[in-house]
Symmetry: C2
């Protein structure tokens, strides 16, 4: 039971901190997620390092943080005020350089399995920095604000947390039928269905609270959260199974590591981003 | 000696076809490089597939081709004529989706080493599609044209080929001191220095022929070709050594595979791209 309380207190504190940061300033929110990105990258590279794989841990963490910072600044500072084309291309240039330097560094490293070392160094940046950096696109570029809170991003967090929590709690108590036993033996159909039910009830509540986003948009966001969030959970389980570990880390009491806590967002965020951009640009 | 002639004929034909395509139309050039990209991706995934790694070969090849096509169209068709913001974001959206789908597909694959499978699938797209797609940025967006030929790109090809050829021929004949024996035992200092000499003489000739690009720009381009081209050669040797193969393929008589022939460009193209953008935008 102490694990239950640790989990509850950690979860509620994180939710409170992130929502408060969103309310006060997108920059505070971005800074908190920079720390989460750094911890996540370090955890990822530590986790995957082994006898046969030697990712460029320090480079990957530094380059991942740089990709996060440049992309976030790009979302936050409008191009017109800060120098035109070079600025507009800054994320592209940063991403191009950071993705190709690991190839060159590996030449001098004298480690076995160079192909895996390079590819897993790059994977960390894509799997962790990109999804977290994209969150800042919803936070700042969203025109739809409710008393200073970006509605879309707030709704995305609330949906994700309630879906996860409902699925976990209901599944633990009443779960019988396995959902995807090969990868995640604890997941059950009962938990998943409870999570989906709660997510759709939440989307109804959100459409009443945040009226600037239409009800159909809340429904579509919920679909994305449920489907790609579930994939995100399974992807992380797949990784942990391949590496024979139970938790990705121990930094968050009751939750395990950063990747354990944010696994669903790591896959759903990019797809929410794409939907968000289509919404704003068509 | 027959290998020498096969190599010469293949090299000259390729140079002729690519330069002719550049002269007639950037679209023809882009189409030829789409075929090279497809062949390169297929070769790469075949090469790295083994007992312990099972990349998503068909997906990687298709997604890599898509990234190439969308990025090229983005370079070629100005945003204003084709629908504004959605179009401007098309490459970003395509890249985000194509990089995150392999995570999801791997859930359903039941293969060992899922982390490597995903990361190497993504690596193929980055290592092959991105450098080749970036070539089209120089071809179309270059304002500096000489009788319809994009000067910068033409110079880049000529420099790369002559540097490679001089280093290979001189090193083969007179090479004694090993350059980077651990990775590429056939490379010698003599060959490298001959290559560098020929490259800088070529850049002088280019600055006389194509006067719209300044001499200092030709010199900087030559530095990038020599340094990052050499890295590109070593990166490919590193991969082949790790995989215990001599050539990456057999598609090009006398040269081996696509990756053997274009190895230097796979690493130099992204850095030339960055320089090219800085030139045009500062």
């Amino acid at each position: 039971m102490s694990n239950f309380w640790a989990r509850t207190i950690t979860g509620l504190s994180m939710a409170f901190i992130l929502l408060a940061a969103l309310y006060f300033s997108g920059w505070i929110f971005a800074t908190i997620f920079l720390l989460i990105t750094l911890a996540g990258l370090w955890e990822f590279y530590g986790l995957v390092s082994g006898e046969n794989v030697h990712p460029q841990k320090i480079y990957g963490t530094a380059a991942g943080a740089l990709v996060y910072i440049i992309t976030t600044c790009f979302f936050f500072i409008p191009g017109e005020t800060s120098g035109g084309l070079l600025w507009k291309n800054a994320p592209v240039i940063t991403i191009v350089i950071t993705l190709f330097l690991p190839f060159i560094f590996e030449i001098f490293r004298k480690k076995s399995a160079p192909l895996s070392n390079i590819s897993i160094t790059i994977l960390g940046i894509i799997y962790i920095s990109v999804p977290f950096a994209l969150l800042n696109a919803f936070s700042k570029q969203d025109q739809v604000q409710f008393h200073g809170i970006p509605e879309f991003l707030t709704g995305y967090f609330i949906l994700t947390w309630l879906y996860d929590t409902a699925a976990y709690l209901y599944g633990k108590q009443f779960g019988k039928h396995k959902f995807f036993e090969r990868i995640s033996p604890k997941k059950t159909w009962e938990g998943t269905i409870a999570g989906i039910t709660v997510a759709f009830l939440t989307s109804l509540a959100l459409s009443l609270l945040f009226r600037d986003v239409s009800q159909s948009n809340w429904l579509i966001l919920t679909f994305i959260v449920v489907i790609f969030g579930t994939f995100g959970d399974l992807v992380e389980s797949l990784f942990k199974r391949g590496l024979h570990v139970k938790d990705s880390g121990t930094i968050l009491p009751g939750h395990g590591g950063i990747l354990d806590r944010f696994d669903t967002m790591l896959i759903s965020s990019p797809f929410v981003f794409v939907y968000f951009y289509l919404l704003n640009t068509i």
